[in-house]
Symmetry: C2
Subunit: 408 residues, 2 copies
């Protein structure tokens, strides 16, 4: 099945090198394809790391190990395999990951726990040890490559390469944050996975890096949904090489810490949006802004209930200002809501207020808004101060075509 580029694709940004990060790609040939499918990032000694991982209890060995490694806080390399997620493969899957860690650690003279491994693609097939070994050997000898090449190589059925950039001034020094991500394309019987990586030359203590990443995650990656299905491999890692020479950031009281956290949040938000823009079958990028909830977390859950509703998503695909389906989705979210205080709007125009449809709202700008690529839905619960923004895409024939019509 030939996938067309998403109509919501955006060009890859110009991302400069990040000091302390060297990228290389190679052909491990995990599938019968002629493309690079193994990405290797070498990280300078002293690089710190933080990670957030899928909560799926059937997670891959990569996720299990990565979670433990991230707690240790030190990284020297990242390996990403594309074409095989190595999930649900028992002890053989774990052996493959441990082999890769050992091979790279021997090359770098570091400990295996400093080598992070991710895999994405078909599940239930143990990662072939021989292909992984040869692929790593090739990558270690490959020339350095660009961010765009690395972003393309971690993709599977992604329809465009995805990257993001931000800078922050930390105590007088400008630090760079570069991110790449893959998702949410898929070929049956593969499983959609999201793998995201942020690299910065800032010096950041691991615990603070973890705190910043976790905070950013709650408002970015945890606020996107394509189809409500949570992958077994979802991983976001942040690496800080410390090459910018700033005094290491250890807490929010440090000079520049707020700026760094904001820049990290910015990169994470950009990356999260790019995944939605490549959502399977997506024709429209949908932003759901929930206000007036009892808490921010409650607002997020209401937003996800709206963003996961097949009826809302098909209504958007049909360019239909179907606020009734939004009401339904709010009501089923399991969060505090009062039907008679609820307001729903599209593109800045309220179509229902305080539990009643507005018979005389101006339909023309709403209809025009819904014909566009970028859709805004507003939900005001009228209860409190909690708010959240969630991003999703519409549900189209393309989603069915990708996931049902094609068979591997």
């Amino acid at each position: 099945m030939e996938l067309q580029p998403s109509p919501l694709a955006v060009p890859f940004p110009a991302i400069p090198p990040v000091a302390g990060v060297t990228l290389r790609v190679a052909r491990a040939r995990y599938k019968a394809w002629d493309r690079c499918d193994l990405t290797y990032a070498e990280l300078a000694p002293g690089t710190t790391v933080a990670g957030v991982f899928t909560r799926n209890v059937c997670c891959s060995s990569e996720v299990e190990l990565g979670r433990e490694q991230a707690r240790l806080g030190s990284a020297r390399a990242l390996v990403v395999n594309a074409g095989n997620s190595n999930a649900f493969t028992g002890y053989r899957g774990r052996e493959a990951v441990e082999q890769i860690m050992a091979q790279v650690a021997a090359h770098l003279g570091c400990t295996p726990s400093e080598v992070f491994v991710s895999s994405t693609g078909v599940i239930g097939v143990p990662l072939p040890l021989d292909k992984a070994r040869a692929g790593i050997a090739a990558a270690l000898e490959a020339p350095a490559c660009s961010w765009e090449e690395a972003a393309a190589t971690i993709g599977t059925t992604d329809t465009f390469a995805k990257g993001a950039l931000a800078t922050a001034v930390v105590a007088g020094r400008t630090v760079t944050l570069a991110g790449i991500i893959k998702g949410s394309g898929m070929i049956a019987p593969d499983m959609a996975t999201m793998l995201g990586y942020v690299f910065t030359d800032a010096a950041v203590e691991p615990a603070f890096l973890q705190a910043c990443l976790a905070a950013a995650n709650v408002r970015t990656f945890s606020c996107i949904t394509v189809d409500s299905d949570t992958s077994t491999s979802d991983t976001v890692l942040a690496f800080a090489t410390g090459q910018a020479g700033n005094a290491p950031l250890a807490g929010f009281d440090d000079a520049g810490a707020d700026a760094f956290a904001a820049a990290l949040h910015d990169v994470c938000r950009q990356l999260a949006h790019l995944v939605v823009r490549d959502g399977e079958g997506a024709q429209k990028f949908v932003e759901i802004r929930v206000t007036g909830a009892e808490s921010d977390e409650s607002a997020r859950r209401v937003g996800l209930a709206v963003g996961n509703s097949p009826l809302v998503k098909t209504a958007i695909a049909g360019e239909d200002a179907n606020w009734g389906r939004v009401v339904m989705a709010v009501g089923k979210a399991g969060e505090p809501a009062d039907r008679d205080k609820l307001s729903i709007g599209f593109g800045g125009v309220w179509t229902a207020r305080n539990g009643m449809p507005l018979a005389d709202y101006d339909e023309a700008p709403v209809a025009e808004h819904l014909k566009g690529r970028e859709i805004q839905i507003a939900v005001d619960l009228g209860l409190g101060e909690g708010s959240a923004t969630v991003w999703t895409c519409d549900l189209t024939h393309g989603y069915i075509a990708i996931n049902a019509d094609y068979r591997s």
Copy 2:
């Protein structure tokens, strides 16, 4: 949009009259159509009632009132409006329901609280008082009609009329239970709703009827899903006219109580299955059997996570034994599960056991099974004794066509 009958449709069963129940239908013309859209069921004095209702907090006035009325336990009539759900219509929606209750109560000489009203169809449009009044007047003078006519009249975009029958012997007397139901067809911007009604000539105390209905509901209506979207109007009511002459059933110790409860469960299960068989775009009826869970409720939640997964449902549509997607869905359910104890099967053949794919499982019978209309998925968690069965349908282009391509 002309809907074709579901390929999973079954003929309407031969349902005899139930003593104490008289059915009539009329044209209220809630929409611009030439069909009966108002159903009236007159119930003999002494009829008891029980109900289960949507948990959607944005529920309709019909649901709010019905919940209160069911607690009182007495019923003399049921009115079902098709074509307008009257949901999210504020005080005007409530006025319409109260008008119908008063009009029928005056006719029967009963209290308004004994008149149950349901509505299904477009939301956000208050039920027109004049049409409702004229429709009720016409129904009260209409000739008695069959179960099939009543079942067809409560439908909206259902593609076939749905009914079920069971009998039970209660202390030497045979009692009849007849059920009709509508769902899950829809035309945008309508909202899928499920309305189900069971009528029996058995004599049953309201509290025991409620207990039996609630127990049946947990294992039947609460175990089906078409698209994970919970309607604002879902309602199931059970009416017991007492005309069979048995000593009223008041608890499980009464003679025949177990038989009655089993028959009620049977009718509810039949009705629930019929809704799935008319699921939007459904091409396959899917049964998900979960065993080895820590509790029955945990098993039900795991089953619903599988049944609601767009990736599992599209895999079934593609006739793909994609157990990896089932693993993913189990893992995201938020219930206790251990990847390395998990087993997945299709049509009686295990394809993965104890966390490992079975490389040598017999693919031929699995492929053959998946080509059929009735699909069985088995999930064994290997943890405990909890079990549940959940029913759903596949996710096809038909679902998108019904919900996105058509606009009202």
